[in-house]
Protein backbone atom coordinates (compact mmCIF):
# COMPACT_ATOMS: atom_id res chain seq x y z
CA UNK A 1 0.00 0.00 0.00
CA UNK A 2 1.43 3.42 -0.95
CA UNK A 3 1.86 6.15 1.68
CA UNK A 4 -0.88 8.45 0.28
CA UNK A 5 -3.38 5.55 0.32
CA UNK A 6 -2.33 4.64 3.84
CA UNK A 7 -2.78 8.23 5.01
CA UNK A 8 -6.16 8.39 3.25
CA UNK A 9 -7.15 5.23 5.12
CA UNK A 10 -6.13 6.73 8.46
CA UNK A 11 -7.93 9.98 7.74
CA UNK A 12 -11.08 8.09 6.71
CA UNK A 13 -10.93 6.04 9.90
CA UNK A 14 -10.58 9.20 11.97
CA UNK A 15 -13.46 10.86 10.07
CA UNK A 16 -15.74 7.87 10.55
CA UNK A 17 -14.81 7.80 14.22
CA UNK A 18 -15.75 11.45 14.52
CA UNK A 19 -19.10 10.85 12.80
CA UNK A 20 -20.25 7.97 14.97
CA UNK A 21 -19.93 8.83 18.65
CA UNK A 22 -18.78 5.96 20.79
CA UNK A 23 -19.57 5.91 24.49
CA UNK A 24 -17.77 3.83 27.06
CA UNK A 25 -21.10 3.07 28.75
CA UNK A 26 -24.48 1.87 27.49
CA UNK A 27 -28.08 2.74 28.34
CA UNK A 28 -29.95 0.89 31.06
CA UNK A 29 -33.17 -0.55 29.61
CA UNK A 30 -35.13 -0.40 32.82
CA UNK A 31 -34.05 0.31 36.39
CA UNK A 32 -33.92 -2.78 38.60
CA UNK A 33 -32.69 -2.23 42.13
CA UNK A 34 -31.86 -5.93 42.48
CA UNK A 35 -29.75 -6.26 39.33
CA UNK A 36 -26.23 -5.21 38.50
CA UNK A 37 -23.01 -4.81 40.42
CA UNK A 38 -24.14 -4.11 44.01
CA UNK A 39 -22.85 -5.17 47.42
CA UNK A 40 -26.07 -6.98 48.29
CA UNK A 41 -25.74 -9.34 45.34
CA UNK A 42 -22.34 -10.69 46.37
CA UNK A 43 -21.36 -13.46 48.74
CA UNK A 44 -18.17 -15.12 49.87
CA UNK A 45 -17.38 -18.60 51.09
CA UNK A 46 -17.71 -18.34 54.86
CA UNK A 47 -17.49 -14.55 54.57
CA UNK A 48 -20.44 -13.34 56.62
CA UNK A 49 -20.93 -9.72 57.66
CA UNK A 50 -19.98 -10.69 61.25
CA UNK A 51 -16.44 -9.47 60.62
CA UNK A 52 -16.85 -6.59 58.20
CA UNK A 53 -13.54 -5.72 56.59
CA UNK A 54 -13.01 -2.66 54.40
CA UNK A 55 -9.76 -2.06 52.57
CA UNK A 56 -8.93 1.34 51.10
CA UNK A 57 -6.14 1.58 48.53
CA UNK A 58 -4.63 4.99 47.84
CA UNK A 59 -3.37 6.55 44.66
CA UNK A 60 0.31 6.88 43.78
CA UNK A 61 0.92 5.02 40.49
CA UNK A 62 2.90 1.78 40.59
CA UNK A 63 4.14 2.67 44.09
CA UNK A 64 0.56 2.50 45.40
CA UNK A 65 -0.23 -0.65 43.41
CA UNK A 66 2.85 -2.45 44.80
CA UNK A 67 2.13 -1.23 48.33
CA UNK A 68 -1.50 -2.41 48.23
CA UNK A 69 -0.38 -5.72 46.69
CA UNK A 70 1.99 -6.16 49.65
CA UNK A 71 -0.94 -5.57 52.03
CA UNK A 72 -2.92 -8.25 50.20
CA UNK A 73 0.03 -10.64 50.54
CA UNK A 74 0.11 -9.89 54.27
CA UNK A 75 -3.63 -10.54 54.61
CA UNK A 76 -3.21 -13.84 52.79
CA UNK A 77 -0.50 -14.86 55.26
CA UNK A 78 -2.55 -13.75 58.28
CA UNK A 79 -4.20 -17.09 59.04
CA UNK A 80 -6.29 -17.59 62.17
CA UNK A 81 -8.07 -20.58 63.66
CA UNK A 82 -11.77 -20.13 62.90
CA UNK A 83 -14.37 -22.53 64.36
CA UNK A 84 -14.33 -24.53 61.11
CA UNK A 85 -10.55 -24.54 60.65
CA UNK A 86 -7.71 -22.27 59.56
CA UNK A 87 -8.88 -19.21 57.68
CA UNK A 88 -7.07 -16.43 55.84
CA UNK A 89 -8.03 -12.94 56.93
CA UNK A 90 -7.96 -12.04 53.23
CA UNK A 91 -11.09 -14.17 52.78
CA UNK A 92 -12.97 -11.96 55.26
CA UNK A 93 -12.54 -8.82 53.15
CA UNK A 94 -15.94 -7.42 52.17
CA UNK A 95 -15.17 -4.19 50.37
CA UNK A 96 -12.14 -2.72 48.60
CA UNK A 97 -12.41 0.95 47.75
CA UNK A 98 -9.59 2.31 45.65
CA UNK A 99 -8.31 5.19 43.60
CA UNK A 100 -5.71 5.69 40.91
CA UNK A 101 -2.75 3.27 41.32
CA UNK A 102 -4.54 1.23 43.99
CA UNK A 103 -7.34 0.48 41.52
CA UNK A 104 -5.13 -1.80 39.45
CA UNK A 105 -4.61 -4.06 42.47
CA UNK A 106 -8.28 -4.01 43.51
CA UNK A 107 -9.65 -4.60 40.01
CA UNK A 108 -7.19 -7.38 39.17
CA UNK A 109 -7.99 -9.18 42.43
CA UNK A 110 -11.73 -8.94 41.80
CA UNK A 111 -11.42 -10.29 38.27
CA UNK A 112 -8.73 -12.92 38.78
CA UNK A 113 -8.65 -13.99 42.44
CA UNK A 114 -7.20 -17.41 41.60
CA UNK A 115 -4.13 -16.13 39.78
CA UNK A 116 -3.84 -12.76 41.54
CA UNK A 117 -0.74 -13.47 43.62
CA UNK A 118 1.06 -15.36 40.87
CA UNK A 119 0.28 -13.08 37.93
CA UNK A 120 -0.32 -9.51 39.09
CA UNK A 121 3.40 -8.66 39.41
CA UNK A 122 4.12 -9.56 35.78
CA UNK A 123 0.75 -8.29 34.50
CA UNK A 124 1.19 -4.84 36.00
CA UNK A 125 3.76 -4.19 38.73
CA UNK A 126 6.82 -5.05 36.66
CA UNK A 127 5.49 -3.61 33.44
CA UNK A 128 6.69 -0.25 32.10
CA UNK A 129 3.16 1.08 31.70
CA UNK A 130 4.36 4.65 31.36
CA UNK A 131 6.73 3.81 28.50
CA UNK A 132 4.13 1.68 26.75
CA UNK A 133 1.54 4.47 26.94
CA UNK A 134 3.94 7.01 25.47
CA UNK A 135 4.83 4.63 22.63
CA UNK A 136 1.16 4.06 21.86
CA UNK A 137 0.42 7.78 21.86
CA UNK A 138 3.25 8.36 19.37
CA UNK A 139 2.17 5.59 17.00
CA UNK A 140 1.00 7.30 13.79
CA UNK A 141 -2.38 5.57 13.49
CA UNK A 142 -3.21 6.63 17.02
CA UNK A 143 -2.39 10.20 16.03
CA UNK A 144 -5.37 10.06 13.66
CA UNK A 145 -7.59 8.40 16.22
CA UNK A 146 -6.69 11.02 18.80
CA UNK A 147 -7.79 13.69 16.31
CA UNK A 148 -11.34 12.36 16.64
CA UNK A 149 -13.60 14.21 19.08
CA UNK A 150 -14.67 11.06 20.94
CA UNK A 151 -11.29 9.39 21.31
CA UNK A 152 -8.72 10.90 23.62
CA UNK A 153 -5.52 10.00 25.46
CA UNK A 154 -7.55 8.46 28.27
CA UNK A 155 -9.30 6.13 25.79
CA UNK A 156 -5.90 5.06 24.54
CA UNK A 157 -4.86 4.25 28.12
CA UNK A 158 -8.11 2.33 28.72
CA UNK A 159 -7.54 0.36 25.51
CA UNK A 160 -4.00 -0.51 26.60
CA UNK A 161 -5.10 -1.61 30.10
CA UNK A 162 -7.90 -3.64 28.52
CA UNK A 163 -5.60 -5.53 26.16
CA UNK A 164 -2.56 -6.03 28.37
CA UNK A 165 -3.85 -6.27 31.95
CA UNK A 166 -7.59 -6.84 32.25
CA UNK A 167 -8.11 -9.28 29.34
CA UNK A 168 -11.13 -7.39 27.90
CA UNK A 169 -13.26 -8.10 30.99
CA UNK A 170 -16.35 -6.00 31.70
CA UNK A 171 -18.31 -5.51 34.91
CA UNK A 172 -20.60 -8.30 33.67
CA UNK A 173 -17.78 -10.65 34.68
CA UNK A 174 -17.83 -9.31 38.25
CA UNK A 175 -21.63 -9.57 38.37
CA UNK A 176 -21.46 -13.18 37.17
CA UNK A 177 -18.86 -14.06 39.82
CA UNK A 178 -21.16 -12.77 42.61
CA UNK A 179 -18.13 -12.90 44.83
CA UNK A 180 -16.92 -10.64 47.61
CA UNK A 181 -15.09 -8.36 48.00
CA UNK A 182 -17.17 -5.60 46.50
CA UNK A 183 -14.82 -3.43 44.50
CA UNK A 184 -15.39 0.32 44.40
CA UNK A 185 -13.33 2.02 41.72
CA UNK A 186 -13.46 5.76 42.34
CA UNK A 187 -12.98 8.61 39.91
CA UNK A 188 -13.73 12.33 40.32
CA UNK A 189 -16.66 14.11 38.65
CA UNK A 190 -15.06 17.26 37.20
CA UNK A 191 -18.18 19.40 37.60
CA UNK A 192 -18.90 18.46 41.19
CA UNK A 193 -15.31 17.90 42.27
CA UNK A 194 -16.65 14.90 44.12
CA UNK A 195 -16.24 11.15 44.07
CA UNK A 196 -17.83 9.16 41.23
CA UNK A 197 -17.83 5.42 41.73
CA UNK A 198 -18.14 2.65 39.18
CA UNK A 199 -21.01 0.79 40.84
CA UNK A 200 -24.55 0.15 39.60
CA UNK A 201 -25.91 2.36 42.42
CA UNK A 202 -24.04 5.27 40.83
CA UNK A 203 -24.83 4.26 37.24
CA UNK A 204 -28.56 3.98 38.07
CA UNK A 205 -28.53 7.75 38.41
CA UNK A 206 -27.21 7.96 34.84
CA UNK A 207 -29.74 5.37 33.61
CA UNK A 208 -26.70 3.46 32.43
CA UNK A 209 -25.83 -0.22 32.61
CA UNK A 210 -22.46 -0.75 34.27
CA UNK A 211 -22.40 -4.39 33.14
CA UNK A 212 -21.22 -3.45 29.65
CA UNK A 213 -18.46 -1.13 30.85
CA UNK A 214 -14.95 -2.48 30.60
CA UNK A 215 -13.13 -2.73 33.93
CA UNK A 216 -10.10 -1.17 32.22
CA UNK A 217 -12.19 1.92 31.43
CA UNK A 218 -13.09 2.36 35.09
CA UNK A 219 -9.46 1.93 36.08
CA UNK A 220 -8.34 4.42 33.44
CA UNK A 221 -10.88 7.01 34.62
CA UNK A 222 -9.21 7.06 37.98
CA UNK A 223 -5.74 7.49 36.61
CA UNK A 224 -6.72 10.46 34.44
CA UNK A 225 -4.37 12.81 36.23
CA UNK A 226 -4.96 16.41 35.10
CA UNK A 227 -2.50 17.50 32.45
CA UNK A 228 -1.12 14.02 31.79
CA UNK A 229 -4.26 12.26 30.62
CA UNK A 230 -7.49 13.73 29.35
CA UNK A 231 -10.75 13.32 31.32
CA UNK A 232 -12.88 10.26 30.55
CA UNK A 233 -16.39 11.05 29.36
CA UNK A 234 -19.40 8.91 30.21
CA UNK A 235 -22.84 9.47 28.71
CA UNK A 236 -25.68 10.33 31.06
CA UNK A 237 -28.85 8.66 29.70
CA UNK A 238 -31.11 10.01 32.47
CA UNK A 239 -32.82 12.33 29.97
CA UNK A 240 -34.00 9.29 28.00
CA UNK A 241 -35.49 7.74 31.16
CA UNK A 242 -35.25 4.24 32.64
CA UNK A 243 -38.11 4.37 35.17
CA UNK A 244 -35.58 5.12 37.88
CA UNK A 245 -36.96 4.90 41.41
CA UNK A 246 -35.14 7.23 43.74
CA UNK A 247 -34.25 5.43 47.00
CA UNK A 248 -36.21 6.79 49.95
CA UNK A 249 -33.06 7.85 51.80
CA UNK A 250 -32.14 10.06 48.87
CA UNK A 251 -35.60 11.68 48.78
CA UNK A 252 -35.31 12.35 52.52
CA UNK A 253 -31.76 13.66 52.20
CA UNK A 254 -32.88 16.15 49.50
CA UNK A 255 -34.95 18.00 52.12
CA UNK A 256 -33.29 21.30 53.04
CA UNK A 257 -33.77 20.64 56.75
CA UNK A 258 -30.94 18.14 56.81
CA UNK A 259 -27.40 18.57 58.07
CA UNK A 260 -25.64 20.49 55.31
CA UNK A 261 -23.18 17.69 54.51
CA UNK A 262 -26.02 15.20 53.93
CA UNK A 263 -28.05 17.68 51.87
CA UNK A 264 -25.04 18.65 49.70
CA UNK A 265 -24.18 15.00 49.08
CA UNK A 266 -27.77 14.27 48.06
CA UNK A 267 -27.93 17.29 45.75
CA UNK A 268 -24.73 16.19 44.03
CA UNK A 269 -26.19 12.73 43.45
CA UNK A 270 -29.49 14.12 42.19
CA UNK A 271 -27.67 16.39 39.72
CA UNK A 272 -27.31 13.39 37.37
CA UNK A 273 -31.10 12.96 37.22
CA UNK A 274 -32.14 16.62 37.41
CA UNK A 275 -33.50 17.54 33.94
CA UNK A 276 -32.91 21.25 34.58
CA UNK A 277 -29.15 20.75 34.83
CA UNK A 278 -28.92 18.91 31.48
CA UNK A 279 -25.83 16.95 32.51
CA UNK A 280 -25.73 14.85 29.34
CA UNK A 281 -22.04 14.04 29.62
CA UNK A 282 -20.07 13.41 32.79
CA UNK A 283 -16.36 14.10 32.61
CA UNK A 284 -14.22 12.11 34.99
CA UNK A 285 -10.74 12.74 36.28
CA UNK A 286 -8.29 11.02 38.61
CA UNK A 287 -10.15 9.62 41.60
CA UNK A 288 -7.40 10.98 43.81
CA UNK A 289 -8.64 14.53 43.28
CA UNK A 290 -11.84 13.80 45.17
CA UNK A 291 -10.31 11.36 47.67
CA UNK A 292 -6.76 10.08 47.36
CA UNK A 293 -7.08 7.20 49.81
CA UNK A 294 -10.40 5.72 48.69
CA UNK A 295 -11.99 6.15 52.11
CA UNK A 296 -14.65 8.74 51.31
CA UNK A 297 -17.20 6.21 50.02
CA UNK A 298 -16.68 3.83 52.95
CA UNK A 299 -16.99 6.84 55.28
CA UNK A 300 -20.56 7.44 54.03
CA UNK A 301 -21.37 3.79 54.72
CA UNK A 302 -19.67 3.94 58.12
CA UNK A 303 -21.47 7.07 59.26
CA UNK A 304 -25.01 7.01 57.87
CA UNK A 305 -27.85 4.95 56.45
CA UNK A 306 -27.35 6.72 53.11
CA UNK A 307 -25.76 3.85 51.24
CA UNK A 308 -26.85 0.47 49.98
CA UNK A 309 -24.17 -1.15 52.16
CA UNK A 310 -24.59 1.10 55.20
CA UNK A 311 -22.84 -0.23 58.30
CA UNK A 312 -25.52 1.48 60.43
CA UNK A 313 -28.07 -0.80 58.77
CA UNK A 314 -25.91 -3.86 59.45
CA UNK A 315 -25.28 -2.87 63.09
CA UNK A 316 -29.02 -2.37 63.60
CA UNK A 317 -29.72 -5.74 62.01
CA UNK A 318 -27.19 -7.21 64.49
CA UNK A 319 -25.35 -8.84 61.61
CA UNK A 320 -21.98 -7.27 62.29
CA UNK A 321 -19.80 -7.70 65.39
CA UNK A 322 -16.39 -6.41 64.26
CA UNK A 323 -15.73 -3.59 61.80
CA UNK A 324 -12.21 -3.36 60.44
CA UNK A 325 -10.86 -0.61 58.18
CA UNK A 326 -7.37 -0.99 56.73
CA UNK A 327 -6.11 1.92 54.70
CA UNK A 328 -3.04 1.29 52.53
CA UNK A 329 -1.83 4.82 51.95
CA UNK A 330 1.31 5.01 49.82
CA UNK A 331 1.58 8.78 50.22
CA UNK A 332 5.00 10.34 49.87
CA UNK A 333 6.58 13.48 51.23
CA UNK A 334 9.12 14.47 48.61
CA UNK A 335 11.91 16.71 49.92
CA UNK A 336 11.66 20.27 48.62
CA UNK A 337 14.56 22.64 48.30
CA UNK A 338 12.43 25.77 47.79
CA UNK A 339 13.09 27.11 51.22
CA UNK A 340 16.83 27.11 50.66
CA UNK A 341 16.58 29.45 47.69
CA UNK A 342 15.44 33.01 47.12
CA UNK A 343 14.11 32.20 43.64
CA UNK A 344 10.41 31.34 43.59
CA UNK A 345 9.48 27.74 42.71
CA UNK A 346 8.88 27.11 39.00
CA UNK A 347 5.56 26.43 37.26
CA UNK A 348 5.91 22.63 37.53
CA UNK A 349 6.47 22.86 41.29
CA UNK A 350 3.41 25.10 41.63
CA UNK A 351 1.33 22.72 39.47
CA UNK A 352 2.46 19.79 41.58
CA UNK A 353 1.48 21.60 44.77
CA UNK A 354 -1.98 22.75 43.62
CA UNK A 355 -2.88 19.30 42.32
CA UNK A 356 -1.35 17.30 45.17
CA UNK A 357 -1.36 19.51 48.26
CA UNK A 358 -5.11 19.85 48.86
CA UNK A 359 -5.49 16.14 48.00
CA UNK A 360 -3.07 15.12 50.77
CA UNK A 361 -4.70 17.41 53.36
CA UNK A 362 -8.17 16.11 52.48
CA UNK A 363 -6.95 12.50 52.75
CA UNK A 364 -5.57 13.18 56.22
CA UNK A 365 -8.95 14.62 57.27
CA UNK A 366 -10.85 11.60 55.89
CA UNK A 367 -8.78 9.16 57.93
CA UNK A 368 -9.40 11.32 60.98
CA UNK A 369 -13.17 11.36 60.29
CA UNK A 370 -13.23 7.55 60.29
CA UNK A 371 -11.21 7.42 63.52
CA UNK A 372 -13.53 10.02 65.10
CA UNK A 373 -16.67 8.06 64.28
CA UNK A 374 -15.12 4.86 65.66
CA UNK A 375 -14.05 6.69 68.83
CA UNK A 376 -17.50 8.16 69.28
CA UNK A 377 -19.22 4.80 68.87
CA UNK A 378 -16.78 3.17 71.30
CA UNK A 379 -17.35 6.00 73.83
CA UNK A 380 -21.13 5.63 73.49
CA UNK A 381 -20.96 1.90 74.09
CA UNK A 382 -18.81 2.44 77.18
CA UNK A 383 -21.19 5.13 78.50
CA UNK A 384 -24.15 2.81 77.98
CA UNK A 385 -22.40 -0.15 79.69
CA UNK A 386 -21.30 2.05 82.64
CA UNK A 387 -24.80 3.52 83.07
CA UNK A 388 -26.39 0.10 82.89
CA UNK A 389 -24.07 -1.18 85.62
CA UNK A 390 -24.66 1.90 87.78
CA UNK A 391 -28.42 1.63 87.44
CA UNK A 392 -28.35 -2.05 88.37
CA UNK A 393 -26.04 -1.49 91.35
CA UNK A 394 -27.57 1.69 92.77
CA UNK A 395 -31.24 1.68 91.86
CA UNK A 396 -32.05 -1.83 90.69
CA UNK A 397 -33.13 -0.06 87.54
CA UNK A 398 -32.87 -0.83 83.85
CA UNK A 399 -31.68 1.09 80.81
CA UNK A 400 -34.40 2.09 78.35
CA UNK A 401 -33.07 -0.17 75.62
CA UNK A 402 -30.43 -2.65 74.52
CA UNK A 403 -27.33 -1.78 72.55
CA UNK A 404 -25.75 -4.18 70.04
CA UNK A 405 -22.04 -4.42 70.88
CA UNK A 406 -19.67 -3.78 67.99
CA UNK A 407 -15.84 -3.53 67.98
CA UNK A 408 -14.05 -1.12 65.70
CA UNK A 409 -10.51 -1.37 64.35
CA UNK A 410 -8.79 1.16 62.10
CA UNK A 411 -5.30 0.68 60.67
CA UNK A 412 -3.68 3.29 58.50
CA UNK A 413 -0.58 1.89 56.86
CA UNK A 414 1.80 4.64 55.75
CA UNK A 415 5.54 5.12 55.49
CA UNK A 416 5.18 7.45 58.51
CA UNK A 417 5.21 4.35 60.71
CA UNK A 418 8.70 3.25 59.65
CA UNK A 419 11.01 3.71 62.63
CA UNK A 420 14.24 4.09 60.71
CA UNK A 421 14.42 7.74 59.64
CA UNK A 422 16.71 7.19 56.63
CA UNK A 423 14.55 4.35 55.35
CA UNK A 424 11.39 6.38 55.86
CA UNK A 425 12.95 9.31 53.99
CA UNK A 426 13.84 6.98 51.11
CA UNK A 427 10.30 5.55 50.88
CA UNK A 428 8.73 8.99 51.11
CA UNK A 429 10.81 10.14 48.17
CA UNK A 430 9.87 7.35 45.76
CA UNK A 431 8.44 8.78 42.54
CA UNK A 432 4.80 8.66 41.48
CA UNK A 433 5.02 6.92 38.14
CA UNK A 434 3.61 4.03 36.17
CA UNK A 435 7.02 2.45 36.09
CA UNK A 436 9.28 1.47 38.99
CA UNK A 437 12.31 -0.84 38.94
CA UNK A 438 11.59 -4.41 40.02
CA UNK A 439 13.72 -4.05 43.18
CA UNK A 440 11.69 -1.03 44.29
CA UNK A 441 8.43 -2.92 43.71
CA UNK A 442 9.69 -5.89 45.76
CA UNK A 443 10.84 -3.60 48.57
CA UNK A 444 7.46 -1.84 48.64
CA UNK A 445 5.71 -5.21 48.98
CA UNK A 446 7.93 -6.12 51.92
CA UNK A 447 7.37 -2.75 53.59
CA UNK A 448 3.59 -3.06 53.24
CA UNK A 449 3.59 -6.53 54.84
CA UNK A 450 5.84 -5.30 57.64
CA UNK A 451 3.59 -2.31 58.38
CA UNK A 452 0.48 -4.52 58.38
CA UNK A 453 2.00 -7.01 60.82
CA UNK A 454 3.22 -4.18 63.06
CA UNK A 455 -0.18 -2.44 63.10
CA UNK A 456 -1.61 -2.39 66.62
CA UNK A 457 -5.26 -2.51 65.50
CA UNK A 458 -4.60 -5.31 63.03
CA UNK A 459 -2.93 -7.30 65.82
CA UNK A 460 -5.95 -6.61 68.06
CA UNK A 461 -8.54 -7.97 65.62
CA UNK A 462 -6.40 -11.01 64.82
CA UNK A 463 -6.05 -11.84 68.53
CA UNK A 464 -9.77 -11.22 69.00
CA UNK A 465 -10.40 -13.90 66.37
CA UNK A 466 -7.66 -16.21 67.61
CA UNK A 467 -6.06 -15.60 71.00
CA UNK A 468 -2.97 -17.56 70.02
CA UNK A 469 -2.33 -15.62 66.80
CA UNK A 470 1.18 -14.33 66.32
CA UNK A 471 2.15 -12.15 63.35
CA UNK A 472 4.39 -13.96 60.86
CA UNK A 473 7.94 -12.62 60.81
CA UNK A 474 8.48 -10.11 58.01
CA UNK A 475 12.02 -9.15 57.10
CA UNK A 476 13.13 -6.29 54.93
CA UNK A 477 15.87 -7.71 52.73
CA UNK A 478 18.98 -5.66 53.68
CA UNK A 479 20.55 -6.10 50.24
CA UNK A 480 17.37 -4.91 48.55
CA UNK A 481 17.13 -1.94 50.87
CA UNK A 482 20.76 -1.01 50.22
CA UNK A 483 20.12 -1.18 46.48
CA UNK A 484 16.94 0.93 46.48
CA UNK A 485 17.97 3.26 49.28
CA UNK A 486 21.75 3.72 49.06
CA UNK A 487 23.04 5.72 52.01
Amino acid sequence: MTLPRLLFGFALAALLGACSPHFVNGKLGRFDKDAGYRYGKLSGEGNSDNIFVILAFSGGGTRAAAFSFGVMEGLKDAVYNAPDGPRRFLDDVDVISSVSGGRFTAAYYALFPEKFFAKFPSAFLHRNVQGDLIRRALWPLNGFRLASSDFDRINLAAEYYDETIFEHKTFAELIAKRRKPYIILNATDMTLGRRFEFTQDQFDLLCSDLASVKVATAVAASSAFPGLLSPLTVKNFAGEGCKYECPKWLTDALDRNNPIRRYAHARDLWSYQDPKLKRDYIHLLDGGLGDNIGLRGPYVSLSSNDSNWSLYDKINQRRVRHIVVISANAKTKPSKDWDHKQAAPGILDVFSLVTGGPMDNYSFETVQLVRDIFDRLKDEEKAWTDCKQLLQDQCSGKMPGVLSPVDFYASELTFDSLDDEDFRHCMENLPTSFYLPEDTVTLLRQVARLLLMQSADFGKIMRELDRAWQPPAVQIDPALRAKVCPS
Binding site: K248, S304, N305, N316, Q317, A383, L403
Partner: protein, 77 residues
Amino acid sequence: MGRVIVEFPECREVFVGDKSQGNNRDEQGEYLILLIGDGLQTFSLGGSKNYTPFSQAVQVGAGSVINPQRVVFQRNA
Protein backbone atom coordinates in the same frame (compact mmCIF):
# COMPACT_ATOMS: atom_id res chain seq x y z
CA MET B 1 -25.55 10.08 64.46
CA GLY B 2 -28.74 9.58 66.44
CA ARG B 3 -29.93 6.87 68.78
CA VAL B 4 -33.54 5.81 68.35
CA ILE B 5 -36.02 3.42 69.94
CA VAL B 6 -39.04 2.46 67.86
CA GLU B 7 -41.97 1.87 70.18
CA PHE B 8 -44.70 -0.55 69.24
CA PRO B 9 -46.45 -3.13 71.46
CA GLU B 10 -45.08 -6.04 69.42
CA CYS B 11 -41.73 -7.05 67.99
CA ARG B 12 -41.69 -5.68 64.45
CA GLU B 13 -39.19 -5.13 61.69
CA VAL B 14 -38.26 -1.46 61.38
CA PHE B 15 -37.69 0.26 58.06
CA VAL B 16 -35.86 3.54 57.62
CA GLY B 17 -36.53 4.75 54.12
CA ASP B 18 -36.90 1.48 52.25
CA LYS B 19 -34.16 -0.37 54.14
CA SER B 20 -34.59 -2.84 57.00
CA GLN B 21 -33.00 -1.97 60.34
CA GLY B 22 -33.82 -5.32 61.93
CA ASN B 23 -36.38 -5.60 64.71
CA ASN B 24 -37.45 -2.97 67.23
CA ARG B 25 -37.11 -5.49 70.11
CA ASP B 26 -34.70 -8.29 71.00
CA GLU B 27 -35.58 -11.88 71.93
CA GLN B 28 -36.39 -10.84 75.53
CA GLY B 29 -38.77 -8.16 74.33
CA GLU B 30 -36.40 -5.29 75.23
CA TYR B 31 -36.26 -2.35 72.87
CA LEU B 32 -33.16 -2.26 70.68
CA ILE B 33 -31.38 1.09 70.44
CA LEU B 34 -30.95 1.78 66.74
CA LEU B 35 -28.13 3.78 65.20
CA ILE B 36 -29.58 6.20 62.67
CA GLY B 37 -27.94 8.97 60.65
CA ASP B 38 -28.78 12.57 61.53
CA GLY B 39 -31.44 14.37 59.50
CA LEU B 40 -34.83 13.61 58.02
CA GLN B 41 -35.62 9.88 58.08
CA THR B 42 -38.84 8.06 57.22
CA PHE B 43 -39.77 5.27 59.63
CA SER B 44 -42.25 2.48 59.01
CA LEU B 45 -42.87 -1.06 60.29
CA GLY B 46 -42.88 -4.41 58.55
CA GLY B 47 -45.56 -7.08 58.87
CA SER B 48 -49.26 -6.39 59.16
CA LYS B 49 -50.30 -2.79 58.46
CA ASN B 50 -52.42 -2.67 61.61
CA TYR B 51 -50.69 0.45 62.94
CA THR B 52 -50.67 4.22 62.64
CA PRO B 53 -49.19 6.34 61.32
CA PHE B 54 -48.42 4.26 58.25
CA SER B 55 -45.02 5.98 58.07
CA GLN B 56 -43.57 9.00 59.80
CA ALA B 57 -40.83 11.42 58.78
CA VAL B 58 -38.69 12.25 61.79
CA GLN B 59 -35.76 14.63 62.32
CA VAL B 60 -33.19 12.31 63.86
CA GLY B 61 -30.30 13.62 65.93
CA ALA B 62 -31.61 14.38 69.40
CA GLY B 63 -31.18 10.93 70.95
CA SER B 64 -28.23 9.42 72.79
CA VAL B 65 -27.57 5.90 74.08
CA ILE B 66 -28.61 7.07 77.56
CA ASN B 67 -31.69 8.87 76.38
CA PRO B 68 -32.69 7.60 72.94
CA GLN B 69 -35.12 9.48 70.71
CA ARG B 70 -38.45 7.70 70.58
CA VAL B 71 -40.43 7.03 67.44
CA VAL B 72 -43.87 5.78 68.45
CA PHE B 73 -46.32 3.72 66.42
CA GLN B 74 -49.80 2.83 67.75
CA ARG B 75 -51.66 -0.39 67.12
CA ASN B 76 -54.97 0.21 65.38
CA ALA B 77 -57.95 -0.35 67.61
